[in-house]
Protein backbone atom coordinates (compact mmCIF):
# COMPACT_ATOMS: atom_id res chain seq x y z
CA UNK A 1 0.00 0.00 0.00
CA UNK A 2 1.41 3.31 -1.07
CA UNK A 3 -0.34 6.40 0.19
CA UNK A 4 2.15 8.67 -1.56
CA UNK A 5 1.06 7.49 -4.96
CA UNK A 6 -2.22 9.31 -4.41
CA UNK A 7 -0.80 12.45 -2.84
CA UNK A 8 -2.17 14.50 -5.68
CA UNK A 9 -5.60 13.87 -4.21
CA UNK A 10 -4.72 15.51 -0.90
CA UNK A 11 -5.98 18.91 -1.96
CA UNK A 12 -9.34 17.62 -3.02
CA UNK A 13 -12.19 19.01 -0.94
CA UNK A 14 -14.38 16.02 -1.49
CA UNK A 15 -13.91 12.99 0.71
CA UNK A 16 -12.30 10.23 -1.32
CA UNK A 17 -11.18 6.69 -0.71
CA UNK A 18 -9.17 4.39 -2.94
CA UNK A 19 -8.99 0.66 -2.35
CA UNK A 20 -7.13 -2.12 -4.03
CA UNK A 21 -8.66 -5.14 -5.68
CA UNK A 22 -8.23 -7.29 -2.60
CA UNK A 23 -10.03 -4.74 -0.46
CA UNK A 24 -7.13 -3.11 1.31
CA UNK A 25 -7.52 0.60 1.67
CA UNK A 26 -4.91 2.35 -0.42
CA UNK A 27 -5.73 5.96 0.17
CA UNK A 28 -8.11 8.36 1.89
CA UNK A 29 -7.86 12.11 2.22
CA UNK A 30 -8.40 14.48 5.11
CA UNK A 31 -11.97 15.31 4.12
CA UNK A 32 -12.77 11.62 4.28
CA UNK A 33 -11.59 11.48 7.87
CA UNK A 34 -13.68 14.51 8.74
CA UNK A 35 -16.81 13.16 7.12
CA UNK A 36 -16.65 9.76 8.76
CA UNK A 37 -15.29 11.17 12.01
CA UNK A 38 -12.37 8.85 12.07
CA UNK A 39 -8.54 9.04 12.36
CA UNK A 40 -5.65 7.70 10.30
CA UNK A 41 -4.85 5.41 13.19
CA UNK A 42 -8.34 3.94 13.29
CA UNK A 43 -8.35 3.57 9.52
CA UNK A 44 -5.10 1.68 9.61
CA UNK A 45 -6.82 -1.04 11.58
CA UNK A 46 -9.35 -1.55 8.79
CA UNK A 47 -8.12 -4.29 6.49
CA UNK A 48 -11.02 -4.44 4.06
CA UNK A 49 -12.97 -1.41 2.83
CA UNK A 50 -16.12 -3.50 2.29
CA UNK A 51 -16.15 -4.58 5.89
CA UNK A 52 -15.48 -1.05 7.03
CA UNK A 53 -18.28 0.47 5.02
CA UNK A 54 -20.71 -2.34 5.79
CA UNK A 55 -20.29 -1.49 9.45
CA UNK A 56 -21.38 2.11 8.97
CA UNK A 57 -23.53 1.96 5.81
CA UNK A 58 -26.35 -0.61 6.15
CA UNK A 59 -27.00 -0.84 2.41
CA UNK A 60 -23.41 -0.90 1.32
CA UNK A 61 -23.31 -4.49 0.14
CA UNK A 62 -25.91 -4.05 -2.54
CA UNK A 63 -24.09 -0.92 -3.70
CA UNK A 64 -20.85 -2.87 -3.87
CA UNK A 65 -22.39 -5.67 -5.89
CA UNK A 66 -23.84 -3.18 -8.32
CA UNK A 67 -20.48 -1.45 -8.62
CA UNK A 68 -18.77 -4.70 -9.43
CA UNK A 69 -21.14 -5.31 -12.30
CA UNK A 70 -20.63 -1.96 -14.01
CA UNK A 71 -17.81 -0.22 -15.81
CA UNK A 72 -19.23 3.19 -15.27
CA UNK A 73 -19.37 5.39 -12.23
CA UNK A 74 -22.20 4.33 -9.98
CA UNK A 75 -23.83 7.00 -7.91
CA UNK A 76 -26.49 6.65 -5.27
CA UNK A 77 -27.83 8.13 -2.08
CA UNK A 78 -27.32 6.09 1.08
CA UNK A 79 -27.68 6.52 4.81
CA UNK A 80 -24.74 5.95 7.10
CA UNK A 81 -24.62 5.72 10.84
CA UNK A 82 -21.84 7.19 12.92
CA UNK A 83 -22.01 7.48 16.67
CA UNK A 84 -25.67 6.66 16.57
CA UNK A 85 -26.52 9.49 14.15
CA UNK A 86 -27.99 8.88 10.75
CA UNK A 87 -26.63 11.02 7.93
CA UNK A 88 -27.26 10.94 4.23
CA UNK A 89 -24.46 10.78 1.69
CA UNK A 90 -24.24 10.58 -2.03
CA UNK A 91 -21.73 7.88 -2.75
CA UNK A 92 -20.00 7.54 -6.10
CA UNK A 93 -17.91 4.52 -6.84
CA UNK A 94 -16.14 2.95 -9.77
CA UNK A 95 -13.95 -0.06 -10.31
CA UNK A 96 -11.06 1.15 -12.44
CA UNK A 97 -9.39 -1.06 -15.02
CA UNK A 98 -6.19 -0.73 -13.03
CA UNK A 99 -7.93 -2.72 -10.34
CA UNK A 100 -8.48 0.13 -7.93
CA UNK A 101 -11.80 1.05 -6.39
CA UNK A 102 -12.27 4.78 -6.25
CA UNK A 103 -15.05 6.14 -4.10
CA UNK A 104 -16.19 9.70 -3.60
CA UNK A 105 -18.62 10.90 -0.96
CA UNK A 106 -20.77 13.92 -0.49
CA UNK A 107 -22.60 14.71 2.71
CA UNK A 108 -26.11 15.85 1.80
CA UNK A 109 -27.76 15.48 5.20
CA UNK A 110 -28.58 19.17 5.47
CA UNK A 111 -29.77 19.42 1.89
CA UNK A 112 -31.89 16.32 2.34
CA UNK A 113 -33.47 17.76 5.42
CA UNK A 114 -34.22 21.01 3.64
CA UNK A 115 -35.52 19.15 0.63
CA UNK A 116 -37.85 17.04 2.73
CA UNK A 117 -39.09 20.10 4.51
CA UNK A 118 -39.57 21.91 1.24
CA UNK A 119 -41.44 18.98 -0.21
CA UNK A 120 -43.72 18.78 2.78
CA UNK A 121 -44.39 22.50 2.45
CA UNK A 122 -45.04 22.15 -1.24
CA UNK A 123 -47.47 19.35 -0.55
CA UNK A 124 -49.17 21.49 2.05
CA UNK A 125 -49.35 24.40 -0.37
CA UNK A 126 -50.90 22.16 -2.99
CA UNK A 127 -53.51 21.04 -0.49
CA UNK A 128 -54.23 24.58 0.60
CA UNK A 129 -54.45 25.67 -3.00
CA UNK A 130 -57.01 22.96 -3.65
CA UNK A 131 -58.92 23.99 -0.57
CA UNK A 132 -58.87 27.64 -1.55
CA UNK A 133 -60.30 26.83 -4.95
CA UNK A 134 -62.91 24.61 -3.37
CA UNK A 135 -63.86 27.13 -0.71
CA UNK A 136 -63.85 29.79 -3.37
CA UNK A 137 -66.44 27.85 -5.29
CA UNK A 138 -68.49 27.34 -2.17
CA UNK A 139 -68.16 30.99 -1.32
CA UNK A 140 -69.38 32.02 -4.73
CA UNK A 141 -72.33 29.67 -4.42
CA UNK A 142 -73.03 30.93 -0.90
CA UNK A 143 -72.91 34.55 -1.97
CA UNK A 144 -75.13 33.83 -4.91
CA UNK A 145 -77.66 32.03 -2.78
CA UNK A 146 -77.78 34.95 -0.40
CA UNK A 147 -78.10 37.33 -3.33
CA UNK A 148 -80.79 35.26 -4.96
CA UNK A 149 -82.88 34.98 -1.83
CA UNK A 150 -82.58 38.69 -1.15
CA UNK A 151 -83.27 39.62 -4.72
CA UNK A 152 -86.26 37.34 -4.96
CA UNK A 153 -87.80 37.95 -1.55
CA UNK A 154 -88.52 41.60 -2.20
CA UNK A 155 -90.45 41.18 -5.45
CA UNK A 156 -92.16 38.15 -3.95
CA UNK A 157 -93.31 40.24 -0.99
CA UNK A 158 -94.54 42.90 -3.37
CA UNK A 159 -96.40 40.34 -5.48
CA UNK A 160 -98.02 38.69 -2.48
CA UNK A 161 -98.97 42.03 -0.97
CA UNK A 162 -100.50 43.38 -4.14
CA UNK A 163 -102.53 40.21 -4.56
CA UNK A 164 -103.93 40.86 -1.09
CA UNK A 165 -104.58 44.49 -2.04
CA UNK A 166 -106.60 43.31 -5.03
CA UNK A 167 -108.53 41.10 -2.61
CA UNK A 168 -109.34 44.12 -0.43
CA UNK A 169 -110.35 46.18 -3.43
CA UNK A 170 -112.68 43.42 -4.60
CA UNK A 171 -114.48 43.52 -1.27
CA UNK A 172 -116.02 46.86 -2.22
CA UNK A 173 -119.66 46.82 -3.31
CA UNK A 174 -119.10 49.04 -6.26
CA UNK A 175 -116.09 47.85 -8.19
CA UNK A 176 -115.99 50.62 -10.76
CA UNK A 177 -114.17 53.20 -8.65
CA UNK A 178 -111.71 50.47 -7.69
CA UNK A 179 -110.81 49.69 -11.27
CA UNK A 180 -107.86 52.04 -11.38
CA UNK A 181 -106.28 50.74 -8.16
CA UNK A 182 -106.81 47.14 -9.17
CA UNK A 183 -105.06 47.77 -12.47
CA UNK A 184 -102.20 49.39 -10.60
CA UNK A 185 -101.89 46.44 -8.21
CA UNK A 186 -102.02 44.03 -11.09
CA UNK A 187 -99.20 45.86 -12.89
CA UNK A 188 -97.16 45.75 -9.69
CA UNK A 189 -97.62 41.99 -9.53
CA UNK A 190 -96.67 41.60 -13.13
CA UNK A 191 -93.51 43.64 -12.68
CA UNK A 192 -92.55 41.74 -9.58
CA UNK A 193 -92.98 38.38 -11.24
CA UNK A 194 -91.04 39.64 -14.19
CA UNK A 195 -88.25 40.72 -11.87
CA UNK A 196 -88.16 37.28 -10.26
CA UNK A 197 -88.16 35.62 -13.62
CA UNK A 198 -85.23 37.71 -14.79
CA UNK A 199 -83.24 36.98 -11.67
CA UNK A 200 -83.80 33.28 -11.95
CA UNK A 201 -83.02 33.04 -15.62
CA UNK A 202 -79.87 35.13 -15.10
CA UNK A 203 -78.78 32.87 -12.30
CA UNK A 204 -79.57 29.73 -14.19
CA UNK A 205 -77.57 30.79 -17.15
CA UNK A 206 -74.76 31.95 -14.96
CA UNK A 207 -74.53 28.86 -12.83
CA UNK A 208 -75.33 26.39 -15.52
CA UNK A 209 -72.33 24.29 -16.24
CA UNK A 210 -72.17 25.10 -19.86
CA UNK A 211 -70.63 22.74 -22.29
CA UNK A 212 -68.35 24.43 -24.69
CA UNK A 213 -70.97 25.20 -27.22
CA UNK A 214 -71.00 28.39 -29.20
CA UNK A 215 -74.02 30.25 -30.40
CA UNK A 216 -74.83 33.43 -32.24
CA UNK A 217 -75.58 36.29 -29.90
CA UNK A 218 -76.18 39.98 -30.03
CA UNK A 219 -73.20 41.63 -28.34
CA UNK A 220 -75.33 44.40 -26.93
CA UNK A 221 -77.70 41.91 -25.32
CA UNK A 222 -74.78 40.17 -23.62
CA UNK A 223 -73.45 43.43 -22.25
CA UNK A 224 -76.87 44.49 -21.02
CA UNK A 225 -77.34 41.17 -19.28
CA UNK A 226 -74.01 41.52 -17.55
CA UNK A 227 -75.00 45.00 -16.42
CA UNK A 228 -78.31 43.71 -15.09
CA UNK A 229 -76.44 41.01 -13.26
CA UNK A 230 -74.14 43.45 -11.50
CA UNK A 231 -77.02 45.80 -10.78
CA UNK A 232 -77.39 44.82 -7.10
CA UNK A 233 -73.94 46.28 -6.39
CA UNK A 234 -74.85 49.54 -8.07
CA UNK A 235 -78.11 50.20 -6.24
CA UNK A 236 -77.65 52.98 -3.76
CA UNK A 237 -74.53 54.37 -5.49
CA UNK A 238 -74.16 57.17 -8.03
CA UNK A 239 -72.52 54.88 -10.57
CA UNK A 240 -73.74 55.49 -14.10
CA UNK A 241 -73.52 52.79 -16.75
CA UNK A 242 -73.25 53.77 -20.34
CA UNK A 243 -73.45 51.40 -23.30
CA UNK A 244 -72.20 52.84 -26.58
CA UNK A 245 -72.66 51.08 -29.89
CA UNK A 246 -71.10 52.49 -33.02
CA UNK A 247 -73.00 51.23 -36.00
CA UNK A 248 -75.15 48.14 -35.75
CA UNK A 249 -74.66 46.06 -32.64
CA UNK A 250 -72.12 43.38 -33.53
CA UNK A 251 -73.13 39.73 -33.64
CA UNK A 252 -70.85 37.28 -31.88
CA UNK A 253 -70.36 33.56 -32.20
CA UNK A 254 -69.44 32.69 -28.65
CA UNK A 255 -70.12 30.61 -25.62
CA UNK A 256 -72.71 32.99 -24.26
CA UNK A 257 -72.48 32.07 -20.59
CA UNK A 258 -68.71 32.32 -20.48
CA UNK A 259 -68.48 35.63 -22.27
CA UNK A 260 -71.21 36.99 -20.02
CA UNK A 261 -69.09 35.92 -17.10
CA UNK A 262 -66.17 37.91 -18.52
CA UNK A 263 -68.29 41.06 -18.74
CA UNK A 264 -69.67 40.53 -15.26
CA UNK A 265 -66.10 40.27 -14.01
CA UNK A 266 -64.91 43.40 -15.78
CA UNK A 267 -67.95 45.46 -14.82
CA UNK A 268 -67.89 44.23 -11.24
CA UNK A 269 -64.21 45.16 -10.97
CA UNK A 270 -65.00 48.63 -12.27
CA UNK A 271 -67.85 48.99 -9.77
CA UNK A 272 -65.69 47.82 -6.87
CA UNK A 273 -62.90 50.15 -7.79
CA UNK A 274 -65.22 53.15 -8.17
CA UNK A 275 -66.95 52.36 -4.90
CA UNK A 276 -63.75 51.93 -2.95
CA UNK A 277 -62.16 55.08 -4.33
CA UNK A 278 -65.36 57.08 -3.87
CA UNK A 279 -64.84 58.60 -7.31
CA UNK A 280 -66.96 61.65 -8.09
CA UNK A 281 -69.45 61.22 -10.95
CA UNK A 282 -68.55 57.55 -11.26
CA UNK A 283 -69.08 56.29 -14.78
CA UNK A 284 -68.63 52.94 -16.46
CA UNK A 285 -68.66 52.92 -20.23
CA UNK A 286 -69.02 49.82 -22.34
CA UNK A 287 -68.30 50.43 -25.99
CA UNK A 288 -69.06 48.01 -28.81
CA UNK A 289 -67.75 48.30 -32.30
CA UNK A 290 -66.96 46.26 -35.35
CA UNK A 291 -63.49 46.85 -36.58
CA UNK A 292 -63.29 48.49 -40.04
CA UNK A 293 -62.30 45.40 -41.96
CA UNK A 294 -65.25 43.54 -40.44
CA UNK A 295 -62.94 40.81 -39.21
CA UNK A 296 -63.06 41.50 -35.53
CA UNK A 297 -65.23 43.00 -32.87
CA UNK A 298 -63.96 45.15 -30.08
CA UNK A 299 -65.65 45.68 -26.77
CA UNK A 300 -64.11 47.96 -24.20
CA UNK A 301 -65.01 48.42 -20.57
CA UNK A 302 -63.82 51.71 -19.11
CA UNK A 303 -64.23 53.41 -15.77
CA UNK A 304 -63.15 56.79 -14.47
CA UNK A 305 -61.85 55.45 -11.16
CA UNK A 306 -58.32 55.39 -9.82
CA UNK A 307 -57.10 52.96 -12.50
CA UNK A 308 -54.40 50.34 -12.14
CA UNK A 309 -50.94 51.25 -10.89
CA UNK A 310 -47.96 50.70 -13.18
CA UNK A 311 -46.63 48.17 -10.76
CA UNK A 312 -49.83 46.12 -10.83
CA UNK A 313 -50.43 46.30 -14.56
CA UNK A 314 -48.14 43.38 -15.23
CA UNK A 315 -49.69 41.25 -12.53
CA UNK A 316 -53.41 41.65 -12.96
CA UNK A 317 -53.87 38.59 -15.15
CA UNK A 318 -52.06 36.35 -12.68
CA UNK A 319 -54.14 33.79 -10.88
CA UNK A 320 -54.87 34.85 -7.29
CA UNK A 321 -53.59 38.36 -7.79
CA UNK A 322 -56.01 40.82 -6.27
CA UNK A 323 -55.94 44.32 -4.89
CA UNK A 324 -59.26 43.91 -3.12
CA UNK A 325 -59.48 43.47 0.63
CA UNK A 326 -59.17 39.98 2.05
CA UNK A 327 -62.41 38.11 1.51
CA UNK A 328 -63.58 40.58 -1.12
CA UNK A 329 -61.78 39.36 -4.21
CA UNK A 330 -60.53 35.94 -5.09
CA UNK A 331 -57.94 37.02 -7.60
CA UNK A 332 -59.48 34.61 -10.07
CA UNK A 333 -61.73 36.89 -12.08
CA UNK A 334 -59.31 38.37 -14.56
CA UNK A 335 -57.25 35.26 -15.04
CA UNK A 336 -60.38 33.24 -15.78
CA UNK A 337 -61.66 35.98 -18.07
CA UNK A 338 -58.37 36.01 -19.91
CA UNK A 339 -58.54 32.28 -20.41
CA UNK A 340 -62.12 32.45 -21.65
CA UNK A 341 -61.31 35.15 -24.19
CA UNK A 342 -58.28 33.23 -25.38
CA UNK A 343 -60.38 30.12 -25.83
CA UNK A 344 -62.49 32.21 -28.19
CA UNK A 345 -59.39 33.10 -30.22
CA UNK A 346 -59.69 36.60 -28.83
CA UNK A 347 -57.58 38.96 -26.79
CA UNK A 348 -58.11 40.69 -23.46
CA UNK A 349 -55.93 43.78 -23.10
CA UNK A 350 -55.47 46.41 -20.48
CA UNK A 351 -54.98 49.64 -22.39
CA UNK A 352 -52.95 52.65 -21.33
CA UNK A 353 -55.31 55.33 -20.15
CA UNK A 354 -54.96 58.65 -18.38
CA UNK A 355 -58.07 58.11 -16.27
CA UNK A 356 -59.36 54.88 -14.75
CA UNK A 357 -58.95 51.37 -16.06
CA UNK A 358 -59.62 50.57 -19.70
CA UNK A 359 -59.98 46.94 -20.75
CA UNK A 360 -60.48 45.90 -24.34
CA UNK A 361 -61.77 42.58 -25.56
CA UNK A 362 -61.15 41.66 -29.16
CA UNK A 363 -63.19 38.79 -30.55
CA UNK A 364 -63.23 37.40 -34.06
CA UNK A 365 -66.24 38.35 -36.20
CA UNK A 366 -68.72 35.54 -36.66
CA UNK A 367 -67.43 34.43 -40.04
CA UNK A 368 -63.94 33.83 -38.77
CA UNK A 369 -65.15 32.49 -35.45
CA UNK A 370 -67.30 30.03 -37.40
CA UNK A 371 -64.30 28.68 -39.23
CA UNK A 372 -62.33 28.26 -36.08
CA UNK A 373 -65.06 26.67 -34.03
CA UNK A 374 -67.03 24.79 -36.67
CA UNK A 375 -66.38 21.20 -37.54
CA UNK A 376 -62.98 22.10 -38.92
CA UNK A 377 -61.76 18.62 -38.17
CA UNK A 378 -64.23 17.33 -40.70
CA UNK A 379 -63.14 20.07 -43.06
CA UNK A 380 -59.52 19.04 -42.93
CA UNK A 381 -59.99 15.31 -43.06
CA UNK A 382 -62.76 15.29 -45.63
CA UNK A 383 -62.11 18.44 -47.50
CA UNK A 384 -63.47 17.55 -50.93
CA UNK A 385 -66.61 15.75 -49.79
CA UNK A 386 -67.82 18.23 -47.22
CA UNK A 387 -70.53 20.56 -48.43
CA UNK A 388 -70.30 24.13 -47.23
CA UNK A 389 -73.63 25.72 -46.50
CA UNK A 390 -73.86 29.45 -45.97
CA UNK A 391 -76.94 30.41 -43.98
CA UNK A 392 -77.91 34.07 -44.09
CA UNK A 393 -80.42 35.27 -41.53
CA UNK A 394 -80.61 38.28 -39.26
CA UNK A 395 -82.52 36.22 -36.71
CA UNK A 396 -79.84 34.73 -34.52
CA UNK A 397 -82.15 31.97 -33.29
CA UNK A 398 -82.43 30.66 -36.82
CA UNK A 399 -78.66 30.74 -37.28
CA UNK A 400 -78.23 28.84 -34.03
CA UNK A 401 -80.87 26.35 -35.04
CA UNK A 402 -79.31 25.70 -38.44
CA UNK A 403 -75.89 25.41 -36.85
CA UNK A 404 -77.19 22.76 -34.47
CA UNK A 405 -79.05 20.89 -37.18
CA UNK A 406 -76.11 20.87 -39.56
CA UNK A 407 -73.34 20.21 -37.03
CA UNK A 408 -74.46 16.61 -36.69
CA UNK A 409 -74.60 16.02 -40.43
CA UNK A 410 -72.05 16.04 -43.22
CA UNK A 411 -72.57 19.71 -43.97
CA UNK A 412 -70.23 22.44 -42.89
CA UNK A 413 -72.22 25.31 -41.52
CA UNK A 414 -71.20 28.91 -42.07
CA UNK A 415 -73.39 31.67 -40.71
CA UNK A 416 -73.91 35.28 -41.70
CA UNK A 417 -76.29 37.74 -40.12
CA UNK A 418 -76.60 40.01 -43.15
CA UNK A 419 -76.11 40.04 -46.90
CA UNK A 420 -72.94 42.09 -46.47
CA UNK A 421 -71.48 39.52 -44.11
CA UNK A 422 -72.46 36.76 -46.49
CA UNK A 423 -70.61 38.46 -49.36
CA UNK A 424 -67.54 38.90 -47.16
CA UNK A 425 -67.74 35.25 -46.27
CA UNK A 426 -67.97 34.20 -49.90
CA UNK A 427 -64.77 36.06 -50.66
CA UNK A 428 -63.10 34.15 -47.90
CA UNK A 429 -64.18 30.67 -48.70
CA UNK A 430 -65.77 28.48 -51.32
CA UNK A 431 -69.50 28.04 -50.72
CA UNK A 432 -71.55 25.17 -52.15
CA UNK A 433 -75.07 26.09 -51.13
CA UNK A 434 -76.66 29.27 -49.82
CA UNK A 435 -79.73 29.32 -47.61
CA UNK A 436 -81.07 32.81 -47.16
CA UNK A 437 -83.84 34.42 -45.22
CA UNK A 438 -86.23 36.54 -47.26
CA UNK A 439 -86.97 39.36 -44.88
CA UNK A 440 -83.85 41.07 -43.66
CA UNK A 441 -83.07 44.71 -42.86
CA UNK A 442 -80.92 46.66 -45.35
CA UNK A 443 -80.58 44.10 -48.13
CA UNK A 444 -83.33 41.47 -48.20
CA UNK A 445 -83.01 37.92 -49.50
CA UNK A 446 -84.31 38.70 -52.96
CA UNK A 447 -81.89 41.58 -53.55
CA UNK A 448 -79.05 39.60 -52.12
CA UNK A 449 -79.58 36.84 -54.68
CA UNK A 450 -80.04 39.43 -57.46
CA UNK A 451 -76.67 40.87 -56.49
CA UNK A 452 -75.10 37.40 -56.66
CA UNK A 453 -76.58 36.61 -60.04
CA UNK A 454 -75.51 40.02 -61.36
CA UNK A 455 -71.97 39.11 -60.33
CA UNK A 456 -72.39 35.84 -62.18
CA UNK A 457 -72.24 33.81 -59.02
CA UNK A 458 -74.45 30.80 -59.66
CA UNK A 459 -74.29 28.96 -56.39
CA UNK A 460 -77.58 27.11 -55.67
CA UNK A 461 -79.83 29.13 -53.38
CA UNK A 462 -82.57 27.97 -51.05
CA UNK A 463 -85.04 30.41 -49.59
CA UNK A 464 -85.92 30.10 -45.95
CA UNK A 465 -89.03 32.03 -45.06
CA UNK A 466 -92.53 32.03 -43.68
CA UNK A 467 -95.61 30.80 -45.53
CA UNK A 468 -96.55 34.39 -46.47
CA UNK A 469 -93.69 34.54 -48.95
CA UNK A 470 -94.51 31.40 -50.90
CA UNK A 471 -96.30 33.37 -53.65
CA UNK A 472 -93.46 35.83 -53.87
CA UNK A 473 -91.04 32.90 -54.14
CA UNK A 474 -92.97 31.42 -57.06
CA UNK A 475 -92.79 34.67 -59.01
CA UNK A 476 -89.03 35.04 -58.75
CA UNK A 477 -88.07 31.36 -58.64
CA UNK A 478 -87.19 30.91 -62.28
CA UNK A 479 -85.78 34.37 -62.81
CA UNK A 480 -83.24 33.97 -59.98
CA UNK A 481 -82.74 30.24 -60.40
CA UNK A 482 -83.83 29.35 -56.88
CA UNK A 483 -83.54 25.72 -55.91
CA UNK A 484 -86.27 25.50 -53.33
CA UNK A 485 -87.95 26.94 -50.27
CA UNK A 486 -87.83 25.95 -46.63
CA UNK A 487 -90.86 27.11 -44.67
CA UNK A 488 -90.28 28.33 -41.13
CA UNK A 489 -90.66 26.68 -38.70
CA UNK A 490 -88.79 23.69 -40.04
CA UNK A 491 -87.41 20.45 -38.62
CA UNK A 492 -83.94 19.06 -38.96
CA UNK A 493 -85.21 16.49 -41.46
CA UNK A 494 -86.74 19.18 -43.64
CA UNK A 495 -83.55 21.21 -43.69
CA UNK A 496 -81.24 18.28 -44.36
CA UNK A 497 -83.72 16.88 -46.87
CA UNK A 498 -83.84 20.12 -48.87
CA UNK A 499 -80.05 20.27 -48.93
CA UNK A 500 -79.83 16.61 -49.91
CA UNK A 501 -82.11 17.22 -52.91
CA UNK A 502 -79.76 19.90 -54.26
CA UNK A 503 -76.62 17.91 -53.60
CA UNK A 504 -77.94 14.84 -55.36
CA UNK A 505 -78.66 16.85 -58.46
Amino acid sequence: MDMEAFEFLDDLFEPILVAEQDGTIAYFNASFLTLFRTTPRAMKKQTDFKEYFSSIIPDFNSFYEEMMKQDQVLSTELNFIIEGQVSTIIIKGVKKESGYFVMLFKDVTVEKLLNDKYRAQLEELKNTHGQIIQSDKLKVIGEMTANISHEINNPLTVAIGNTELIGFALEANDLNPQRESITKFQINIEHSLDRINKIISNMKEFLHKSEDKKEYCDAREIVEKAIAFTNPSVIGTDIQMNVMVSGAAPILLINRVKIEQVFVNLIQNAIDSLKEAGTENPLITVELKTENSGNSIQISVKDNGPGISAENRAKIFNTFFTTKAIGKGTGLGLSISNRIIQSHQGKLDLLESSVGAHFRITLPAIGIAGHVSGNWEKLISDNHKLIRVLVVDNELNILNLCMNFLSESDYHFIGASSAAEALLEMERTKIDVIITDMKMPLVDGENFVRELRAKNINIPVLFMTSKDFVDKYKTIKDELGLEGIIIKPFTKEELVGALGAIVNE
Binding site: N153, N154, L156, T157, V158, G161, E164, L165, N188
Partner: protein
Protein backbone atom coordinates in the same frame (compact mmCIF):
# COMPACT_ATOMS: atom_id res chain seq x y z
CA UNK B 1 -110.81 59.10 15.47
CA UNK B 2 -108.69 61.88 16.89
CA UNK B 3 -105.23 62.55 15.67
CA UNK B 4 -103.55 61.74 18.97
CA UNK B 5 -104.65 58.14 18.76
CA UNK B 6 -102.98 57.66 15.44
CA UNK B 7 -99.94 55.45 15.47
CA UNK B 8 -96.88 56.36 13.46
CA UNK B 9 -94.76 53.76 11.77
CA UNK B 10 -91.37 54.40 10.21
CA UNK B 11 -90.60 52.06 7.31
CA UNK B 12 -86.93 51.80 6.34
CA UNK B 13 -86.43 49.85 3.12
CA UNK B 14 -84.36 50.53 0.03
CA UNK B 15 -86.84 48.87 -2.31
CA UNK B 16 -89.38 51.47 -3.49
CA UNK B 17 -91.90 48.78 -4.42
CA UNK B 18 -91.93 47.37 -0.91
CA UNK B 19 -92.32 50.84 0.57
CA UNK B 20 -95.17 51.57 -1.81
CA UNK B 21 -96.90 48.31 -0.89
CA UNK B 22 -96.76 48.95 2.84
CA UNK B 23 -97.94 52.53 2.43
CA UNK B 24 -100.83 51.57 0.17
CA UNK B 25 -101.88 48.84 2.55
CA UNK B 26 -102.09 51.05 5.61
CA UNK B 27 -103.68 53.85 3.67
CA UNK B 28 -106.39 51.42 2.61
CA UNK B 29 -106.89 49.32 5.68
CA UNK B 30 -106.18 51.18 8.83
CA UNK B 31 -106.82 54.82 9.30
CA UNK B 32 -105.22 54.81 12.69
CA UNK B 33 -101.80 53.99 11.29
CA UNK B 34 -99.66 56.56 9.55
CA UNK B 35 -96.62 55.44 7.57
CA UNK B 36 -93.48 57.45 7.07
CA UNK B 37 -90.93 56.19 4.60
CA UNK B 38 -87.16 56.20 4.61
CA UNK B 39 -84.84 54.77 1.99
CA UNK B 40 -81.92 54.13 4.29
CA UNK B 41 -80.65 54.64 7.80
CA UNK B 42 -79.55 58.20 7.06
CA UNK B 43 -83.02 59.24 6.01
CA UNK B 44 -84.43 57.35 8.96
CA UNK B 45 -82.28 59.35 11.35
CA UNK B 46 -83.59 62.55 9.82
CA UNK B 47 -87.22 61.48 10.04
CA UNK B 48 -86.77 60.38 13.62
CA UNK B 49 -85.38 63.73 14.66
CA UNK B 50 -88.55 65.40 13.36
CA UNK B 51 -91.19 63.07 14.70
CA UNK B 52 -91.90 60.38 17.26
CA UNK B 53 -92.64 56.88 16.09
CA UNK B 54 -94.50 54.00 17.69
CA UNK B 55 -92.88 51.28 15.62
CA UNK B 56 -89.92 51.11 13.30
CA UNK B 57 -89.85 48.58 10.46
CA UNK B 58 -86.36 48.00 9.12
CA UNK B 59 -85.24 45.95 6.16
CA UNK B 60 -82.13 43.99 6.95
CA UNK B 61 -80.49 44.02 3.58
CA UNK B 62 -79.81 47.53 2.48
CA UNK B 63 -76.79 48.96 0.74
CA UNK B 64 -74.46 50.67 3.12
CA UNK B 65 -75.28 50.06 6.74
CA UNK B 66 -77.14 46.80 7.28
CA UNK B 67 -80.59 46.98 8.85
CA UNK B 68 -79.60 44.79 11.74
CA UNK B 69 -76.70 47.04 12.71
CA UNK B 70 -78.89 50.10 12.50
CA UNK B 71 -81.62 48.47 14.57
CA UNK B 72 -79.10 47.42 17.22
CA UNK B 73 -77.72 50.94 17.40
CA UNK B 74 -81.25 52.23 18.02
CA UNK B 75 -81.76 49.66 20.75
CA UNK B 76 -78.63 50.92 22.46
CA UNK B 77 -79.49 54.60 22.25
CA UNK B 78 -81.19 56.14 25.25
CA UNK B 79 -83.60 58.15 23.16
CA UNK B 80 -84.96 55.37 20.97
CA UNK B 81 -84.40 52.17 22.91
CA UNK B 82 -88.07 51.91 23.89
CA UNK B 83 -89.47 52.00 20.38
CA UNK B 84 -90.38 48.50 19.18
CA UNK B 85 -88.47 47.47 16.10
CA UNK B 86 -89.54 44.91 13.52
CA UNK B 87 -86.74 43.58 11.37
CA UNK B 88 -87.77 42.58 7.86
CA UNK B 89 -85.47 40.08 6.31
CA UNK B 90 -85.00 37.16 4.00
CA UNK B 91 -83.36 34.04 5.35
CA UNK B 92 -81.09 35.21 8.15
CA UNK B 93 -77.65 33.82 8.77
CA UNK B 94 -77.35 32.12 12.12
CA UNK B 95 -74.85 34.70 13.33
CA UNK B 96 -77.30 37.44 12.44
CA UNK B 97 -80.09 35.74 14.36
CA UNK B 98 -77.84 35.49 17.42
CA UNK B 99 -76.78 39.09 17.01
CA UNK B 100 -80.41 40.19 16.79
CA UNK B 101 -81.47 38.12 19.79
CA UNK B 102 -78.61 39.32 21.96
CA UNK B 103 -79.39 42.91 21.03
CA UNK B 104 -83.04 42.51 22.01
CA UNK B 105 -84.48 42.41 18.52
CA UNK B 106 -87.18 39.82 18.92
CA UNK B 107 -89.56 40.73 16.15
CA UNK B 108 -88.48 39.48 12.79
CA UNK B 109 -90.72 39.47 9.76
CA UNK B 110 -89.38 37.00 7.26
CA UNK B 111 -89.59 37.99 3.63
CA UNK B 112 -91.59 37.15 1.66
CA UNK B 113 -94.41 38.04 4.05
CA UNK B 114 -98.09 38.67 3.47
CA UNK B 115 -99.84 41.87 4.46
CA UNK B 116 -101.79 39.89 7.03
CA UNK B 117 -98.56 38.77 8.67
CA UNK B 118 -97.37 42.36 8.61
CA UNK B 119 -100.48 43.80 10.25
CA UNK B 120 -100.57 40.98 12.83
CA UNK B 121 -96.98 41.69 13.75
CA UNK B 122 -97.60 45.41 14.00
CA UNK B 123 -100.73 44.94 16.10
CA UNK B 124 -98.99 42.62 18.50
CA UNK B 125 -96.12 45.09 18.83
CA UNK B 126 -98.54 47.93 19.50
CA UNK B 127 -100.30 45.89 22.19
CA UNK B 128 -97.01 45.01 23.82
CA UNK B 129 -96.15 48.68 23.81
CA UNK B 130 -99.10 49.46 26.09
Amino acid sequence: MSKSERKCILVVDDDPKVRELIQTFFALKSEEILCVMAEDSQQAVLKMSNQEFDIILIDNQMPGRSGIDYALSLKKSIKYSRIPIILMSGALQQEDVLKAMEGGLKDILVKPFSLKQLSDKINSCLKKGH
